[in-house]
Symmetry: C2
Subunit: 238 residues, 2 copies
DNA sequence: TAAGTCTATAATGTATACTGTTTGGATTCA
DNA sequence: TGAATCCAAACAGTATACATTATAGACTTA
């Protein structure tokens, strides 16, 4: 439970935005241990700035569901099986439609990026490199989401996908699951290439269902989590 | 452009939460003029507290899309026709499903509240009282949304519904539109009473489509808005 | 030895002060 | 009289200091 995490400043925007970006990337990359505490004053000291911008950034992440604020530091939320099911339900409703949009709007450059991400995912699955697989997966999703012209739709999806991603770190390390996911990605990619919105919709539906089933099948380890770190989240229903 | 808005403290939680609630309610009730500036130090002075909790609350509202932060105070966002279309698309995807959930989970007390809100809406429509109609409309939605057990789903819906509500203030004052909306509410209510999830799904789909069509039909006034107050929103894509 | 209480500490919540930037108005010059 | 530049005020961003609260650990008592 030491603090191996190193934050560094990225020169863009005001301090709050910089810290926000850094911490969010850290979370998305799965570099945060489940029980790890994020304390504003510590991060501030590390970055050589004051508490306030850090605090603002952390609170923004709380509002967006990436963190929970306890009275004793900010930590990753501990999602219950119900939480994950809820998130998957929303994703089931939104992502197929978004994929259909992307099938129409993706350009050649986007398809190329997707192909690269897909290859990377396949290579990672073959090599058993969970971290790389994880990263390729995110890159793939971010790419097609970027082509969706309805920003509110794509941002909502990105947020919820990120939330489960934190918990799915373990699931995504599972070799058979990786194979299923890669197959799903390829199917979706091919629908994109053909600019077939209907196929994209259907395959994305399938993909999400598969992902959820796979997750639920491997869920018992999740329960341990909840027992071991039963933090009462303070985030108001806001 | 005077400041007729009076904020008062509500005794619950920390200061930030109190301010947040107050300001959000003010927005939801449509008590905020489109060009109105919300300045943290002013509100703080009015409440007899310091800037920081107010600032936190306002920034949270910015993150949630209720406000935009300019370099010169916080104001209501000016939604374009595209923005509204985007929001309606997300609502079309989410609300029917949520209504189906509510049809199963609404209890007697909830149905009673819905009936009251419906009656109020009908009375307001008959009397031509736009403010009351507005309020009854919100009460109706908040009630059935409260019965949805998937909190992320219901909160996402509430947020997006609130966003368009700000712009729809004018639309909702339109008598024929009020009649259409009341009819839709009654149809949905009856599906709830019968605990018919399928009917609730279908009627909600219809309801949203109607609302969107009505809005778009009366949209020209919206364009004026954009011309007159073309504030470049500073909110990062966060 | 175990349980309960109390205290010390760590971390958030709040307040105030200062800085930097932007905008709007006023003044001056052409 | 109009346009351009400069100055002042307003407001967000940041920093630092103080208050509050909850938890963990220790100590006391049964």
């Amino acid at each position: 439970m030491a603090e191996p995490i190193e934050f560094k400043r990225v020169g863009e925007g005001n301090l709050r935005a910089q810290v926000y970006q850094q911490v969010r990337l850290t979370i998305q990359r799965g570099e945060l241990a489940p029980g790890q505490k994020l304390v504003d004053v510590d991060i501030a000291a590390q970055l050589g700035i004051s508490r306030m911008p850090v605090r603002d950034a952390l609170m923004q992440l709380v509002h967006e569901g990436y963190l929970v604020g306890t009275t004793r530091g900010f930590t990753l939320p501990t999602l219950t099986a119900t939480d994950v099911a809820d998130i998957f339900e929303v994703r089931r409703l939104l992502e197929p439609r978004a994929a259909a949009h992307a099938a129409r709007t993706l350009d050649a450059a986007g398809l190329k990026t997707l192909a690269a991400a897909l290859q990377e995912a396949e290579a990672a699955a073959a090599a058993g490199d969970a971290a790389l697989f994880f990263q390729a997966n995110s890159a793939f999703r971010n790419c097609w989401l970027g082509a969706v012209e309805n920003d509110r739709l794509s941002q909502t999806i990105a947020r919820f996908a990120d939330h489960v991603l934190v918990v799915r770190l373990k699931t995504l390390s599972h070799q058979p699951t990786q194979a299923v996911i890669v197959a799903g990605m390829r199917a979706i990619y091919e629908a994109f290439v053909k600019r077939d919105a209907v196929a994209a919709y259907d395959r994305m539906t399938h993909f999400i269902q598969n992902a959820e089933e796979r997750f639920m099948k491997l869920s018992p380890p999740l329960q341990q989590f909840n027992d071991e770190a039963a933090i009462i989240p303070r985030q108001g229903k806001s």
